[in-house]
């Protein structure tokens, strides 16, 4: 029994090796094979479905001015783990799961009533004579349906390969602002917490320098730092969550430090603001009596 189990385990270890063709974005983590993240797997586009004639949702472009890259990085579906789970469903990225609904189509919940005698209707001849079994499918050009096919340009249908922007995110650009933020917090935050955060930033540095972080993680970290620098706490926190959900294997060890840093920086700045207000209030009070006499 246990022998056969061992065999199975061996299989599992071997299988990925066979698959390990040189894939550009594939990598091996310390635990073994990690699937390359196929961001181009499929861009979910509602316009594709317009031809289906059901609730043609207006094309919603999710590219707001600032968040364009974030959106691009976060909307993807990757296949489930078929080796470990029987018929494992695909995995949706954090961005897709939290996407604020958008116009939902009518859910597929319609039923057809069986005729009261329970006998199935014999398919009517106009629907069933389809093409002969071995003939080709109706070519696009001659088919009267689907009519909307022309209206949805091929480019939106093809999986969008995000242009690999050759902007190497530099470790320095990410790490320095984080360390700066940490320095700001010293004095405000307990030393032990600061040391702990610092330890995790070192871990981040080490993994980054050692080439253990994938491009999407690096890019999203750069965005996170941007948001942090511009005091967009919620946005930074959301990027941290998306990284934890989508790339937990890579980031779990040090991301919690970044998370804490965001929280500490946030409370620090709200305290400062309060102080400033207080200071402003007191200075106003001081000026008032001066004018009075």
């Amino acid at each position: 029994m246990s022998n056969s189990r061992r065999l199975l385990e061996d299989d599992r270890i071997r299988c990925p090796e066979i698959k390990a063709r040189p894939l550009k974005s594939g990598y091996r983590s310390r635990r073994g094979w990690c699937r390359p993240e196929r961001q181009s797997y499929r861009k979910v586009s509602r316009s594709q479905r317009a031809w289906l004639g059901r609730a043609p949702a207006p094309e919603v472009t999710h590219r707001h001015a600032g968040g364009a890259e974030v959106e691009m990085a976060e909307l993807y579906v990757k296949p489930g783990n078929k080796e470990r789970g029987w018929n494992d469903p695909p995995q949706f990225s954090y961005g897709l799961q939290t996407q604020a609904g958008g116009p939902k189509r009518t859910p597929l919940t319609k039923r057809v009533a069986a005729p009261q005698d329970g006998a199935p209707r014999v398919p009517t001849s106009e629907t069933s004579p389809g093409p002969s079994p071995m003939g080709p499918p109706p070519p696009s050009s001659t088919a009267s349906r689907p009519p909307a096919v022309g209206s949805c340009p091929a480019s939106t249908v093809d999986p969008i390969d995000f242009p690999v922007i050759e902007c190497e995110t530099l470790l320095e650009d990410v790490l320095r602002p984080l360390e700066q933020a940490l320095d700001d917090c010293r004095g405000h935050t307990k030393k032990q917490v600061c040391d702990d955060i610092s330890r995790r930033l070192a871990l981040l540095q080490e993994q980054w320098a050692g080439g253990k972080l994938s491009t999407p993680v690096k890019k999203r970290m750069a965005l996170l730092v941007q948001e942090l620098s511009s005091h967009q706490w919620d946005a930074a926190d959301d990027i941290h969550r998306s990284l934890m959900v989508d790339h937990v294997t890579e980031v779990s060890q040090w991301m919690v430090g970044v998370k804490r840093l965001i929280a500490e920086k946030r409370s620090l700045s709200s305290e400062e603001e309060a102080n400033e207000e207080k200071a402003a209030a007191t200075s106003e009070n001081q000026t008032v009596p001066e004018q009075d006499p």
Binding site: R54, N87, Q97, T109, G118, P120, R145, A154, V248, A263
Partner: protein, 767 residues
């Protein structure tokens, strides 16, 4: 007809209520003759985009036995500032805050569009939510690693001020002390000995040290009871240490000999978790989240021994009374579940293993407390990971969808009594004048406790018409029901949601057509199915099928149009036309048939059936089938073997599985690679359409279903073939000709044969 459908839909959207009957038979006798009981499916916290809570407390009827809440159905005397309760007719003075009330200046709760309203209660201490992770370490390395990562990830999703704790178990049970100091300590318990709550609290030092603290500072008695707990700490304080602690978790170090199962002390671990929360946070929202990768193999609650050569119990063993540990284990978990429910906490079970894990014995833990039950193959699957993530999903307001510690109270007008409820709840044993002696489901009470719920949690609530036949209700009379749900919102506020509904009474003789037209067959099917599944927990399968059949025949006798002894003349009106096929599919469903399912699987399916809303429940009873082809837009088709055609793609949703099936020709085309040729781009679109639709379902469904992509002749086509009505089988194939679908190799009865029998029995004067 359309108007009743609209009415039903509107009511569901506004109040989260679906009644089996929307016009009520006005006497007890007539109501029993309607066969399907007067009942409703209630989704207490149905998500409402347009319902901001009001910031004041509800106004109650002053009669101590009534205490109904002021609602749009109450008669109001604006000049005298009085209102009459619509349940007990007590006349009440408005409270002082309502002095400005007039016809043109009404509070929200009197406006008809606020038949459902939510109040926010300011008083009372607000205590944080508690999440206690109970983690099995007898896992394979890969699984443990994936689970650890999921748990680390969850720290980012939890509310920052929630309290979190960690218990791990294998042969021993470890309760981890969480401190920010960087030294990890844990209390180790033996997994073979059950401990009482008192013992657990003593051993963890929860009772003794807390006492002098309280005596020393009597000024703050119960203000911060959680400060003293070293085992439950706020996420924002402990997240870094807990991340490390989780990262360092190792597989259970005890050696497992060949031919043995690892010793797993699930029973004691759960008992300690329940005892820990019982002592520290009674009656506040708390989740015990059990992650297990196999059956309990020692101590109280063990389900199977550690000898691998003895397999875990099957249905066959249970029927032959050969399941050695089942009764004792079930008793242990029932005791824990009841204690947990009394404390107002809930237990989630995340069981990921290829073999059974003892869900049959442990099911009550989730069923009685409103916890989730998730069953997967491995923690390293997207099925588990995403289902787990979705526990922490948020609504459009950015609030967590989960709610805690709810009590549901039902009030009825005099002609009605409450027979019981079926759903993720326990009885609070509150007797009263509106409680019926005839129980359906969990009865004998007008109040239930739902320890954990979300926006889809749905209860079936059953009523009895008690008005006597010789005391007719005046023309135009209406019956009313009020549902009052008090709960702890995820933001830790107390809230009260009140729904008050009314329906017309009708005389069953003179207004039979009205009653018939107002029948909600979908709600009725789900409500009858819940009754059946509830009984299936304690009775033999065949008895329940017979009971369902008898009810269906009686319903057809009552509402069918036919000439006596002439089956061909039998007709059902539109409002009943789908009901027989719902019953047909229900009979074949895994909720009533255990064949081909393990006891754990049956428990899992029934768990979800008893808590989902109407739409999802109906999908479980009769799966949805859509067809995609070049002949037109996708369309729903009959769940029938005749729908399986060569040039179609089918998408089937059974709730637990999403199946995409390519017909024979389509599969050949795909094999030939037409989808890659630019001139056949429409074929590519055709292949993509069901995939897109499936993804839309997958994105919304909880728990994550399995996803099956198959084609004609594929081995997994069995998922489709086992669900469709076998109208063509190997027996009658030639009668139907060759081209009309796919014959199913089965001896099961088809819908047609079922209907033939039903008609025969319905029109016969003998039955």
């Amino acid at each position: 007809m359309a108007t009743y459908l609209e009415f039903i839909q509107q009511n569901e959207e506004r109040d989260g209520v679906r009644f089996s009957w929307n016009v009520w038979p006005s006497s007890r006798l007539e109501a029993t003759r309607m066969v399907v009981p007067l009942a409703c499916l209630l989704t207490p916290l149905k998500e409402r985009l347009d319902l901001p809570p009001v910031q004041y407390e509800p106004v109650l009827c002053s009669r101590p036995t009534c205490k109904a809440i002021l609602n749009p159905l109450c008669q109001v005397d604006y000049r005298a500032k009085l209102w009459a309760c619509n349940f007990c007719f007590q006349r009440n003075q408005f409270p002082p805050a309502y002095t400005g009330i007039s016809e043109v200046n009404q509070p929200a709760e009197l406006m008809p569009q606020f038949s459902t309203i939510e109040y926010m209660i300011q008083r009372g201490p607000q205590s944080p939510l508690v999440f206690l992770y109970v983690v099995d370490t007898c896992l394979e390395e890969e699984d443990l690693q994936a689970l650890k990562e999921s748990l680390q990830m969850s720290l980012s999703l939890l509310p920052p001020d929630a309290l979190v704790g960690l218990i791990t178990f294998g042969r021993m049970v470890q309760v981890h002390e969480l401190s920010c100091e960087g030294i990890s300590k844990s209390y180790v318990f033996r997994g073979t000995k059950d401990l009482t709550a008192k013992q657990i609290q003593d051993m963890l030092g929860l009772t003794k040290p807390a006492m002098p603290m309280q005596q020393a500072r009597p000024a703050q008695p119960q203000e911060h009871p959680f400060v003293s707990s070293r085992f439950l700490q706020p996420v924002h304080k402990i997240d870094m240490n807990l991340t490390d602690l989780l990262g360092e978790l190792q597989r259970d170090p005890w050696p497992v000999n060949q031919g043995k199962r690892p010793l797993r002390s699930t029973g004691v671990a759960l008992s300690i978790a329940v005892g820990l929360l019982e002592g520290t946070f009674p009656n506040t929202g708390a989740r015990i989240m059990l992650f297990t990768g196999g059956p309990p193999t020692q101590g109280p609650g063990m389900v199977v021994g550690d000898e691998l050569k003895v397999p875990i119990r099957s249905w066959h063993d249970i029927e032959k009374d050969n399941a050695r540990f089942m009764k004792k284990a079930t008793k242990h978990y029932e005791m824990l579940a009841n204690r947990t429910a009394t404390n107002g906490h809930c237990i989630d079970i995340y069981a990921c293993a290829l073999d059974q894990t003892g869900l049959l014995e442990m099911k009550c833990c989730a069923n009685l407390t409103g916890g989730y039950m998730v069953m997967g193959d491995s923690f390293n699957t997207s099925l588990f990971k995403q289902t787990f993530q979705r526990i922490f999903s948020k609504d459009f307001n950015g609030d967590f969808r989960m709610a805690f510690g709810a009590t549901l109270e039902v009030k009825t007008s005099r002609e009605l009594k409450i027979a019981g409820a079926i759903g993720p709840c326990v009885s609070l044993n509150v007797k009263g004048p509106c409680v019926s002696e005839n129980e359906l489901g969990v009865g004998g009470t007008s109040q239930w406790k739902i320890c954990a719920l979300d926006a889809t949690s749905t209860l079936g609530i059953y009523f009895e018409v008690v008005n006597q036949h010789n005391a007719p209700i005046p023309q135009g009379g209406r019956g009313a029901i009020q549902f009052v749900t008090q709960y702890q919102h995820s933001s830790t506020q107390r809230r009260i949601r009140v729904t008050t509904i009314a329906r017309n009474w009708a005389d069953a003789q003179s207004q039979f057509k009205h009653i018939e037209a107002a029948f909600d067959q979908e709600a009725a099917a789900v409500l009858m199915a819940r009754l059946g599944v509830f009984r299936a927990e304690s009775e033999e399968g065949p008895d329940i099928l017979r009971w369902l059949d008898r009810q269906l025949i009686r319903l057809c006798q009552k509402f069918g149009q036919y000439n006596k002894e002439d089956p061909t003349s039998f007709r059902l009106s539109d409002s009943f036309s789908l009901y027989p096929q719902f019953m047909f599919h229900l009979r074949r469903s895994p909720f009533l048939q255990v064949f081909n399912n393990s006891p754990d699987e049956s428990s899992y399916y029934r768990h979800h059936f008893a808590r989902q809303d109407l739409t999802q429940s109906l999908i479980m009873i009769q799966p949805i089938l859509y067809s995609y082809s070049f002949h037109g837009p996708p369309e729903p088709v009959l769940l029938d073997s005749s729908s399986i055609l060569a040039d179609r793609i089918l998408l089937m949703d059974t709730f637990f599985q999403i199946v995409i099936y390519l017909g024979e020709t389509i599969a050949q085309w795909r094999k030939a690679g037409y989808q890659d040729m630019p001139e056949y781009e429409n074929f590519k679109h055709l292949l993509q359409a069901p995939v897109d639709d499936a993804q839309e379902i997958l994105q919304a469904r909880f728990p994550m279903p399995r996803y099956i992509n198959t084609e004609h002749g594929g081995s997994q086509a069995r998922f489709l073939l086992s669900k469709v009505n076998p109208s063509q089988t190997h027996n009658n194939l030639y009668a139907w000709g060759q081209e009309t679908g796919a014959p199913i190799l089965t001896d099961d009865v088809s819908l047609q044969v079922f209907m033939d029998h039903l008609k025969k029995l319905a029109v016969s004067s003998a039955s």
